[in-house]
Amino acid sequence: MPKATLLVVQGADQGLRFELDGGAVTLGRGALNPICLRDDEVSRTHAQIRFDESAGGFVIGDRQSSNGTFVNGEAIQTRKLSNGDQIAVGTTAFLFQEAAVARPIRAADQLEVFVGDDVRERSSIISELSQEVGQQLLRDATSIIKASSTTQTLANLQVLYRITEAAVTPTLSLDQLLHRILELTIEVVGADRGCVLVNDPRTSQLTPQAFSHRRGFSPGSPMPVSRSIVDYVRKKGQGVRTSDAPHDQRFSQQSIMQAGIREAMCVPMQGRYELMGVLYLDITTPSDQVPRLGPEGHRFTEETLHLLAAIGRQTALAVENHRFQDAFLKAERLAAVGQTIAILSHHIKNILQGVRGGSYLIDMGLKQHDEDLIGRGWKIVEKNQDRIYHLVMDMLSYSAERKPALQVANVNDVVRDVCELMEPHAAECQVELTCQLSDQVPESAIDPEGIHRAVLNIVTNAIEAVEGATGGRVTVETSYDLPSDELVVLVRDNGPGIPAAQQAMLFNIFESTKGSRGTGLGLAVSQKVIREHGGDIFVESREGEGATFRLVLARLDEAAARAYAP
């Protein structure tokens, strides 16, 4: 089944990525949508995306939303999606990305690079062009417009615009991008086929990276590419055009003759710092079958060479940007992995230290036949077992693997369990833990295990915030807000409060204000779980006046839960 992803590029969920596996997937504000958005401008079930065999791709359909569904700025009812399309719903924007599919035919298999005679063949190049001229086309479109027919110039500018657009679309893989550029170029210059040879930074060799041909053209045998032309372009940094290939010594080789090449162009792809490769186009169609011949009776004219030089420059910058982007992503990934390992190692080290303390006391107790000492040691070991358990469960909860298992239950039961579980710990910390459950709270489709973890993390934090303080109090309350049909869990403490500067970072992963005791996972997990239920967590706190965490969940009925069940 084809795969694609939706990347949220704008809105409250920016940065989230949703995988599409071809099955029907709904998106909306409702918690039961596989793509659940925190966006009040989005309808409960706003749109649906699925793979449509007959359309040959993913199709998005609006589900009678209040504010409409837009693809690339245009309101749609249904629309086949293309790679790089931007989908807008409410204040949220997605980027649609099709998974890069390995092309059935590699570019290298479609090309035949051959070495021809070297010295005298320049005579057949009827035109050369410095790369600066191509850049001038980009800078000074007005002068070009004056010098050429308006229709063709507009087409040229349009293709440059489209190439620029494709180049800055972050969704395309390098292969996809080069293929797209070739398609656009072939279309505008009227070539039969073309290829991109990219400089391999490791070997400094030009290797085929993309091949394409115009619609309706049957490529047949591999496209012959003259090594001597390529080397010339590479060495001189100049674009070349030949419009008499059959009499060009460069094309005297059998393969070229058999291929029937009539015209060819090759331009350098000059990047900011180095040559990134070459762009190569040819025509094999006999001139009497070629529409729109230029004044010299050739399809490839001086103007098309200018245009190709500009496209070569654009393509080079795109290749360069892709490489920068790849390097940047790799560096970011490595940094993130390194940071995660460092933080987890720190927590595991703390747990190990605790276990060592407990083991030491047990060992001492065994040697001294002191059961009290053994008991105290065992208590420490058990405490650290719990810490490992919670660390692992938080990591699992935070990972993308875990999906909420909805079932009809009462939030009160979950909150009661948490309070009963935490009661001994609160007593140990000399904290008064109070549980006030409203009997107005209705049943709802929730993931009890997830909600348990979310509430537990927040109650644990609240107890630790007031631990050791005189008169430390933590209150856990539930309520039901009828007008909004929402369930609310309040966790309130009378601790030192949370400074405003820290509040903004509270839910960031691995962000902890608890020093060695905190993993920085708890609140991030709680937020993730509550958001999976279509809700959110709100914090109210002022320094010296305690803190209140308000967990808000949309109530879901039994039918909704059944519909959501896998």
Partner: protein
């Protein structure tokens, strides 16, 4: 607020360290107390005989001025003060046997002084 005068004061860190020290030293007549660094400035604490100070990557360099002249053990960060006559340094994970031995020797030194 910490009002009594402990033999050993544990600042910050895991409560397990305090639990182990209490289990070992309290039967020998040494009081062990634990306090947060943030509460130190408000405490009416009289100087202990040994300070065990947990440092953390996210915290600033420990306030050592208050316990000038008192034997100190720093646990945790690598850039905390180096071991010298009155200061010892441990990095996690450490062996409790070594920590307890060090505290015993520092207590003995303090008794002798």
């Amino acid at each position: 607020m910490v009002g009594n005068s402990p033999s050993i004061l544990v600042v910050d860190g895991l409560s397990e360290t305090t639990d182990v020290l209490k289990a070992v030293f309290e039967p020998r007549g040494h009081a062990v107390n634990r306090v947060r660094q943030s509460q130190l400035s408000n405490s009416t604490l009289t100087p202990p005989r040994v300070v065990v100070w947990h440092t953390n990557e996210s915290e600033t360099t420990p306030l050592t001025g208050r316990f000038q002249g008192i034997p100190r053990i720093f646990i945790g960060r690598a850039d905390c003060p180096a071991s010298d006559g009155e200061t010892r340094r441990f990095s996690q994970p450490f062996e409790y046997r070594e920590l307890l031995g060090t505290i015993e020797s520092l207590l003995a030194k303090a008794d002798a002084a």
